[in-house]
Symmetry: D2
Subunit: 341 residues, 4 copies
């Protein structure tokens, strides 16, 4: 490692590949991602998101990954997507302190996310806006993908992850959507529509079916996990569903990378090794994989910045087009290059 | 701390209360739980479950907590509940090794959970059984509580968490149920019933409404979080929903304890302090609360064993009866004592 | 795990051996320790201590381990031993709060150790007492073992680790002794004796030589690491020294257990696996070993309490007698049983 | 955070200052360091080193910090300095795997440091070289600073930390030097010189006295901790020694930053907050301070690279000259600028 010779983030991560411990691991994460982008079989690339990523200041980074076309499907906790919408409607994240007096913050309607504050009144306003706008969604059961695509189109902030995904046709799933402030908005809508025979209804299991659809129509898959949680577990479980439900011949994800602050020895899914997932067949026996132990506010900008620096390596990577008919999908490659230079 | 004088787990945790660091914290967790049990306002006690608790050997411990009546509502990841069912149908957890060769395990259909193996063929069998049995559920939208109550009654193993909860009338929710092998069974059911106008449908948002019902009908609430994840976030968020949706006057949870391996400084919800939740109003300004950093396979048996040792302190604690009418609930105290000695 | 059937800590840890994750690991730690105690070759058992163990309330537990004869040599950070002396001279550890205002504590001369306070004026008094009493030590170079044996005999509190070790003839080393408040006392002594041709002088390298002596005169060795730090590294390195300096035929430690809060993937010695130490030859190829990830205030009372509960298993275990001639040692077994019942 | 606009590491860390969680903390670490460098009182800047920093590939980075003049005194574990010498004598660190079979590595004399291998035979050769070369050191008691200065001058590799420090007159201390392979070399020397009335002898307590000298002759001090361990504790404790021994009027360190993977809630010194040190008076009441939770192989190149990018901000920073007379020191500023552009 020679910092006098680092000329950018691409350069830095290339140097990291020759060091050790977590710097090496992060360098390998870049390598795995780039390999997935250059694979001529054009794997479908899933991005799993958990943790306080918007509070961490990563909204633009995540939106860019979608916009550049280096990820094809997004699976996220509801909280990440909600805070994206909160900013779309003008909400702010303020610099705060992790040792603040929380009872005093309560008095002034500031809600704390570790070292960041959000505006509780604006949160309530956003929740109610979501509740109202849901009335414009067709009164029928729907997947989180359909509903989040709808929200993305209705909050068209160019800096927004959801809006960018909607514009680019990138499917966004949230398998635990009710567990978020979007869920609060949905609860307000539920309450207002309880009596009705026809109403919008989050048909959670349909998400699973649609995930299986994508998997079975992809020649190969790659997974990029920022944190663990429900998104990691669900994307991995999708392989098992695909095998059972469709007799798909059991190749797991072919490329896999994760940045995480969790550890394997607590036995949980979030921190479990990508090797462990091989025993389940969720990750392919021959997968290239890498896991770096670094918090996302540091790790993700390094990865994304290195990808951007080295974009010559994946320029021309074709985008995927998802043609949905109800809960079924066809996937094809778009001719235009992934990134418009 | 004088180990020559420890006469049982109740005694141990009492000694812990006079030490420091995580032993003291664990001792305080016991104190908070016991305070909740002795509060004459009879708070409703939520138990949030995440992590590999069944693999960790805690099935009987969790089932006992439900049976003793020291928790009133269970909110869990799907994985915990699934592995409960897997054992109800005869599935086993084997002692394994965290350094096993996962590709070899793949070949013999053993799936690894850190240092424990499960039987992949038995998993598939259980998934399919869940899929089939779901056909017997009424063909209509339902909450996870309704569905899990149904499963608990159909797999009546006395050692089972779900069966014990069903027998005791304890509501069990799983806000991310589709993200588990139960979700795989549900996907098989979805696939088989896609065309039908009437079918069972997991109405995820209804869970939120039912949670709000319980909160608004409880004079006070207590929360016990084993790990973090979706259960912690969802139970906490319930307070916000209750305030918005019902104009409930914003007291947060009045007792709160958590055992966790996560840390505050990653900024995520799982490791966030119970103080932070006060800024959101999710935990009451005046709540008694405690958080111990210890992995659940060690921490939970200590807590539960101490409760059991000291059961004279909460004997006579009345059970709650939940009378559901659709998605609405009335809660009353049962006269009989919580634990039949 | 069935907490209704736990009859004590011995029983608890036996149940832990049949569970998984860190409970199983802690159960295995007990097994390794008991195996070392029952080995007819009578291995020399090293206890390595680091972390805030006295603040954690473990003074009596550590003193008991020495008194029972289940450890033969103690290697510790200076801080643990210093706080032992601080209590011998009447110093107290008070229950404090980790979120206290440290600038206010400064004003009232309370020093914080996470959630515990100590008395700064009493600290200064103890430091000065150590400085003065050092004048009574012979004016020559000496090892930390000689010096700590001297301190143990001069502060004869029966609850003291150092005093109990002195009474029992258990060698105590502190390879980084200057890095502690004992070092402050020694600095005061150094300052007062700078000009003198003959003075007490901590001959640090002699510690290494004496460690090698013990290793080369032991048929086998066992290591018990509470935390990592300098004690773990130094006891492990001793094997390498013994091999180089004395052509000892390179068997590493034969039994090894550690409880730690550190993790392997940061690459440091404290969290490194006991397997890694095998590549260095520090741990024997055939060693039985176990590592549990649990903080010592919880983990050590469980281990020590289980040993005590099950003392019938190691009663009669002969103590070792260390006969020192300068920096050389002979080791023999004492006939009397380890523990006087 | 906008990775499309990052033009280098200086720029990256400036952006980090406006984000949150650990990225913000790392950005603040840079700010604290730069403030120390621009303080017209010219604080003496201590660098505390622990962890597998050479294995991590950071040798050149650490050597650069010394060479640039952005640190004035180095305090390190013995292992970091030993591996510096091992490379000076031609030793290599090889890319390995954390899941290697350690018994097989043992057979081929490869020693593993997490994911890196070192050459055991070359280690032994280096240890013996250190033992021999120590014969050329004056036969008298000496501090680790004197001895390490000697080693630095005898292994004059321009890429070496010790050699660069020797050339630049930067004092290097190692308060637990015997706990390292340098200690193994010293043990060989001890063994060969046991009988002699005059011999080199590591006078550990003299280190403390010399540290106090530096502190009492510095108008202000700054501390930069890479990891925790003995270096952090010792540099902090120096303040207490200085106050006792010299009636120095108790200002603690005025600037303090740490990057660490440890956490506060285990209660240990390595992970303790810089606030906690304020209660002890080790860190000034008014100190600017920052702590980032990131492993050093990632965190240190970012910090050092940002310093380098922004060197215009500290160019002209005068070096310190330490004039030692025995164990006493005078400190003055050198006129030439810190960095030769």
């Amino acid at each position: 490692m020679d910092v006098e010779k680092v000329r950018g983030l691409g350069d830095l991560l290339e140097q990291f590949q020759g060091t050790s411990i977590q710097a090496r691991n992060l360098g390998r994460c870049l390598e795995v991602w780039e390999n997935a982008l250059r694979d001529p079989k054009r794997p479908t690339i899933f991005l799993g998101l958990s943790g306080p990523l918007i509070a961490a200041g990563l909204r633009k980074v995540l939106r860019d990954l979608v916009d550049w076309g280096v990820v094809d499907v997004v699976v996220s906790t509801g909280a990440v997507l909600y805070q994206d919408l909160y900013q779309s409607t003008g909400g702010r994240h303020w610099v705060g302190s992790p040792t603040a007096d929380d009872v005093k913050l309560r008095d002034v309607y500031l809600d704390r996310i570790y070292d960041t504050y959000v505006d509780e009144l604006k949160f309530e306003e956003t929740d109610r806006a979501i509740g109202r706008i849901t009335n414009e969604f067709p009164p029928r059961p729907a997947s989180s993908r359909e509903y989040l695509g709808f929200l993305g189109s209705r909050f068209p902030d160019p800096e927004s992850i959801l809006a960018t995904a909607a514009r680019r046709g990138v499917p966004v799933f949230s398998p635990a959507l009710i567990d978020s402030s979007i869920g609060i908005g949905l609860t307000l809508h539920y309450q207002a529509n309880r009596g009705k025979s026809e109403r919008f209804l989050l048909d959670a299991v349909r998400d699973n079916y649609e995930l299986v659809q994508i998997l079975t129509h992809s020649p190969r898959t790659a997974v990029i996990y920022i944190g663990g949680g429900t998104p990691k577990n669900w994307i991995n479980d999708g392989i098992v569903m695909a095998n059972y439900a469709f007799g798909r011949e059991g190749e797991g994800h072919f490329y896999a990378l994760q940045i995480t602050t969790d550890v394997p020895h607590w036995g949980g899914l979030s921190g479990s090794t990508l090797d462990e997932a091989q025993s389940w067949g969720k990750i392919s026996r021959t997968a290239t994989r890498a896991m770096a132990h670094v918090e996302a506010s540091i790790g993700l900008p390094l990865l994304a910045g290195a990808l951007w620096d080295r974009r010559a390596k994946w320029r021309g990577h074709p985008r995927l087009v998802f043609d949905w008919t109800g809960d079924e999908v066809e996937i094809r490659r778009r001719r235009r290059s992934a990134h418009r230079p």
